[in-house]
């Protein structure tokens, strides 16, 4: 899985490089000017046969969680469909990007931040296991999916950490407590990550 995801990631990077682009330039579709708090693309990004959605945005007020947004341009929020026959979504992870369009860190947030359906770590990890690449994928969706693929183990660990944070809080209202925004995070060193996969 790692090797396949790494190859998909590399091919999407090469494809974007050939057109002087990157994941954020892809999602804003060449706009010269973008606004904070607006979700890009319009209508959101749908992929994996409509089973996944994502959007990119930049925040205005980062006072409470400033450290999370240091050096950040904006971030992707990635959601998975809860069940085939339901239009219900669960947030899996956010992916922070710097102002050169490069990934900075993964992070997971409390329920009040993203709303939707809250799924436990093991159910979300299964969603990550089910990722498949198809010819319908664009450079951007290939990049997003393969990023999830190469970091699947780390993301599963973060999901467990997220759930442990909630369990240890021992408060029924924790999910909606705005004092708690960030539940798990991990820095991304993409070049080193790909190099480690290539060596193995």
């Amino acid at each position: 899985m790692h090797s396949s995801a790494a190859n998909t990631l590399l091919s999407s990077l090469v494809g974007m490089g050939e057109i002087n682009s990157n994941p954020v330039l892809q999602v804003i579709d060449g706009l010269d000017s973008i606004s904070k708090e607006v979700k890009y693309p319009k209508g959101l990004l749908q992929f994996q046969g409509g089973d996944w959605q994502a959007f990119y945005h930049c925040h205005s007020n980062t006072n409470d969680i400033q450290h999370l947004f240091d050096n950040e341009h904006g971030h992707f929020h990635i959601f998975a469909k809860v069940a085939e026959d339901k239009d219900e979504w669960s947030h899996i992870v956010a992916l922070s990007m710097n102002n050169m369009g490069q990934p900075l860190r993964w992070f997971m947030v409390n329920h009040w931040v993203t709303a939707g359906v809250w799924l436990e770590a093991n159910l979300l990890s299964r969603k990550l296991d089910g990722i498949a690449y198809s010819k319908q994928d664009t450079l951007l969706t290939k990049w997003l999916l393969s990023m999830l693929g190469i970091y699947k183990n780390e993301l599963s660990g973060m999901l467990n950490k997220r759930d442990q944070a909630i369990e240890s809080a021992d408060q029924a209202s924790f999910h909606q407590n705005k004092q708690h925004y960030l539940l798990a995070e991990q820095s991304i060193y993409l070049e080193q990550k790909l190099q480690s996969i290539a060596k193995n």
Partner: protein, 71 residues
Amino acid sequence: MKRNKVIMGAAISLATITAAIDHTRHRLPEAQELSEQINFDLDTGFDGSASPCSLDIDPDIDNRSPCSLGD
């Protein structure tokens, strides 16, 4: 597609990885505050065709989920 095969068919070199990443480094446009953008548009001849209210910040912004799938 052809390029994909080239990558997958060969051992991935460290130089390939570095080059692929480097070629995607492009400065992004800085995100503007919505209110600043309204002022800018007004200063430069906002044509009135788009309602300023459509850019209005949700008065309930502090109570909604800032990163939900909704608009």
